[in-house]
């Protein structure tokens, strides 16, 4: 063989060897789990900030869940979020005193933040003190019974409660109660500099408006995790994100929790063009509905008017309007609590409270009578505000506008507002009606369902106030006996359904789609947990397949 030919062959072999060396190596471990790969998901826009204590937005949690841990976490391999399914995270174990008022947490040792600082009890105290401060947390009410957080030593922490509070552990789970580094307390939560946690992925880079990249934390305290090499969050709005998913350029729908649930066209599109994708539509604990403002004075301040307005709605039609014409909705006519929840009013009871046990003509007659009694037989005008980027909320209000006009001569104008204008108005009660969600962190606690409407609570958008209800809520929070607690919850719901500060339209169904080879731990499929908690399983996600483009669509 000539010298030149030999050289060529050596060069080709060299190039092949180099390519093999740099290509991602996906190794199967003894359990059959495949390591490596990149998880690509989309968020509708960049995160406004990285403060998980202040928001329920997936735009923030899709980032913070990869970077931060909680003291405890919900079991990522189980679907149900409950006190029984709480597992250790940064706390190795914990003890609860016999009176239920003291929790002692024993923290993991040798855990380091991504910048090399050791993790200690100081970080937990700093983070939880922030989490329970109403000025720096939207969920302070959920951990209101905490009176003191004391550091015993670097790895032991004691939480004192005013009264025994069985729901405490659930509320200390991520994605909300993230543990931030105390040594970065002066860093803005709007800056990516704050993305220094103990979590499975380290922040690598961000191209604003395009993508944030996180890479595997080799020092993650759970040995062997995460399975993925990289985690990427793309800023893409829904239709574009669905197209990217169909094209195989995303591994998970528009976001882990997104709006496939509210747009029939997107579901059909995924089904048609990516039939191999798994579509998950899961009822959550949250409900969607109309909050009446008690800051703005108007006819709706009269309970008879609110009852009349609730009675004339056909909740099945409303659900179809909300779901963009999708005729299958598992939670038509939901209540404040999910019906399966212990202590919840039954569907029949809620139907009766809203007059749904009567025919529509009977309901309209009763509603008209109520309007006459309230002095509004000729109707009145009011305005509903909705977020401009969420069509389903506007569609629901347009449906209501039609029904209320035809049945009660109520003129409802619907004003879509940009988020930057919408949120300040919603949060201060500056509206007549707002279509929003009675959100929950875990979707599993009576404290959360009832807590939304307690006087002074941030999520009580309409600023409704009822002392009897507040007193009952306090009793529910303090009650230890599950049976008695359920009974007190039912009494509080009786006040809620009598006063109707919020018409429950539907139980929120969250949906997303993911590639079929996306797995969580040893469990067969990706586990969808209620509300936003499924982000926390990102350290357990792995791919059975490895192709970058996974769909057949070209």
């Amino acid at each position: 063989m000539e010298k030149k030919s030999m050289l060529k062959i050596i060069m080709v072999l060299g190039v092949i060897a180099c390519m093999t060396a740099v290509s991602p190596v996906l190794a199967a471990d003894p359990q059959g789990l495949v390591r490596g790969g990149v998880l690509r998901l989309a968020s509708a826009s960049d995160a406004a900030n990285y403060d998980s204590h202040m928001t329920t937005s997936g735009r923030t949690h899709s980032h913070t869940c990869a970077v931060f841990n909680g003291l405890v976490r919900t079991d990522p391999l189980k679907k149900e979020v409950s006190a029984e399914n709480i597992v250790p995270d940064l706390a190795e174990r914990w003890e609860i005193s016999s009176d239920g008022k003291t929790y002692t947490f024993y923290l993991r040792k040798n855990v380091k933040f991504h910048d090399g600082h050791p993790f200690t009890a100081k970080d937990v105290k700093y983070s939880l003190d922030k989490f329970r401060d109403p000025k720096r947390s939207a969920f302070a009410a959920n951990v209101a019974p905490i009176t003191n957080i004391g550091i015993i030593d670097d790895y032991t922490l004691k939480i004192q409660l005013e009264y025994a509070y069985p729901d405490l552990l659930i509320f200390l789970c991520p994605p909300y109660a993230s543990i931030y580094p105390e040594h970065l307390k002066d860093v803005s939560f709007k800056s990516t500099d704050i993305l220094v946690g103990t979590g499975p992925f380290k922040f690598k880079s961000k191209v604003p408006g395009k993508v944030s990249i996180y890479e595997r934390n080799p020092d993650y305290f759970i040995k062997g995790l995460p399975y993925l090499d990289r985690y990427e969050v793309y800023s893409l709005k829904f239709p574009a994100a669905v197209d990217a998913f169909i094209g195989g350029r995303l591994d998970c729908g528009p976001s882990m929790r997104a709006y496939l649930d509210s747009d029939r066209a997107l579901v059909l599109k995924v089904q048609k063009h990516a039939p191999e994708a798994v579509i998950g539509l899961e009822p959550s604990g949250a409900s969607r509905g109309a909050f009446f403002s008690f800051v703005h004075k108007g006819p709706w301040n009269d309970v008879r008017v609110r009852k009349a307005m609730a009675m004339v709605i056909d909740y099945r039609d409303l659900a179809i309007a909300s779901y963009g014409g999708l005729e299958v909705n598992p939670v038509v006519g939901a209540g404040l609590f999910p019906f399966y929840q212990k202590g919840a009013w039954t569907k029949e009871e809620v139907d009766k409270a809203y007059g749904r046990d009567q025919s529509m003509s009977e309901r309209i007659a009763v509603a008209k009578d109520l309007m006459s009694q309230a002095g509004y037989a000729n109707g009145f005008a009011l305005e509903a505000i909705v977020r401009s980027d969420e069509a389903f909320r506007k569609n629901v209000m347009l449906y209501c506008a039609d029904v209320w006009k035809k049945s009660l001569n109520i003129d409802l104008s619907v004003t879509p507002l940009e988020r930057s204008i919408f949120f300040p108005r919603r949060d201060t009660g500056e509206f007549d009606v707002v279509n929003d969600v009675a959100n929950t962190m875990t979707g599993s606690s009576a404290i959360e369902f009832l807590g939304t409407f307690v006087s002074g609570e941030t999520r009580n958008y309409g600023k409704w106030s009822n002392k009897e209800y507040d007193d009952l809520f306090e009793k529910v929070a303090r009650e230890q006996d599950p049976q008695k607690r359920a009974e007190l919850s039912r009494q509080a719901q009786a006040i809620f359904y009598k006063e109707i500060p919020y018409i429950v339209f539907e139980g929120a169904v969250y949906g997303t789609a993911w590639r079929p080879d996306l797995m969580t731990g040893p469990v067969k499929d990706l586990v969808m947990q209620p509300v936003f908690t499924n982000y926390v399983s990102v350290d357990r996600i792995w791919f059975k397949g490895t192709a970058e483009r996974w769909t057949k669509t070209k």
Partner: protein, 292 residues
């Protein structure tokens, strides 16, 4: 009596003759005029074109394809797309015509004033116009809508403000050239006031280019309304608007294409009508384009 009747008849004949010339010489303009008349009649006499309300929700009829019952199909709330198409013309025309009228009157008057007065006043006015012109019209309209909020009136104002400096520039330049003309100088010598000169001598001579430009801008005003509504910044729901209907149904295009096709057709129709008419107006009024 007979003489006056004869005169009237002669005048009528002349008009018909002119119209005949227009049809013959400007076939595209004629087509534009017909389209414009259709849109205008839909806007003025909407209830005669359709009996159904454009806002009437009917959940059992969601996503019905075009049929004898729903000529243009129905949308995600079961609303009749044909009636939304008809009533959508009202929004388009109301916003388009009103904003151009407002921009033409305000921009025209200020332009004549600025051109005739000259000096520092002209300088200041024109620098303000420069500032407004430095931004693309649609961006300026979006900015105004974001500040004012969504309503029909605000949409009209936003588009009017966006196009007002363009008309101002045109009338100012015409006024400046007229200022130096013999008949204006004669009026000055005769002792006429500036206001009289503006109203009696300059304004009538500005009308032709003014009208041509305003008609040409009408099409862009229709588009601006559709764009603002498409971006969710135009008229608020449930008022039917072609732009909003088009934007809201983009995701449904694959499964219910009629929801995008018809509002798109409406926008195309109105813009074509205005542009064809504008071109013909220019052909008629611009002496340089007159046929030998």
């Amino acid at each position: 009596m007979n003489k006056s009747l004869q005169k009237k008849e002669a005048r009528m004949k002349k008009h018909i003759q002119r119209l005949g010339f227009f049809f013959r010489d400007e076939p595209l303009g004629t087509f534009g005029a017909v389209l414009f008349l259709i849109v205008l009649s839909m806007a003025i006499a909407s209830p005669l074109w359709t009996e159904k309300s454009p806002t009437d929700v009917s959940i059992p009829n969601v996503f019905k394809p075009p049929s004898s019952e729903f000529w243009f199909g129905s949308d995600n709330l079961g609303r009749d797309v044909w009636s939304r198409f008809v009533y959508g013309s009202r929004t388009s025309l109301l916003v388009g015509l009103s904003s151009i009228l407002l921009a033409s009157v305000a921009g025209g008057i200020l332009g004549i004033f600025s051109g005739l007065i000259g000096g520092k006043t002209d300088l200041i006015i024109q620098r303000i116009m420069d500032a407004l012109l430095s931004m693309p019209a649609i961006v300026l309209a979006i900015l105004i809508m974001a500040v004012l909020g969504t309503s029909v009136l605000n949409t009209i104002l936003a588009i009017a403000v966006a196009y007002f400096p363009r008309i101002n520039r045109l009338t100012r330049s015409t006024a400046i050239s007229l200022r130096e003309s013999l008949f204006v100088e004669s009026a000055i010598v005769a002792g006429a006031s500036k206001i009289r000169i503006s109203i009696m001598h300059v304004a009538p001579n500005c009308i032709a280019p003014w009208l041509v430009y305003a008609t040409a801008l009408l099409g862009t005003a229709f588009l601006a309304e559709a764009t603002l509504s498409f971006l969710g910044l135009g008229v608020p729901p449930p008022i039917p608007s072609w732009g909003r209907d088009l934007s809201e149904n983009l995701t449904n295009f694959e499964f219910a294409p009629w929801l995008c096709i018809f509002p798109g057709l409406g926008i195309t129709m109105a813009v074509f009508a205005a542009n064809f008419l504008g071109d013909s107006m220019r052909n008629i009024f611009d002496p340089r384009l007159k046929k030998a």
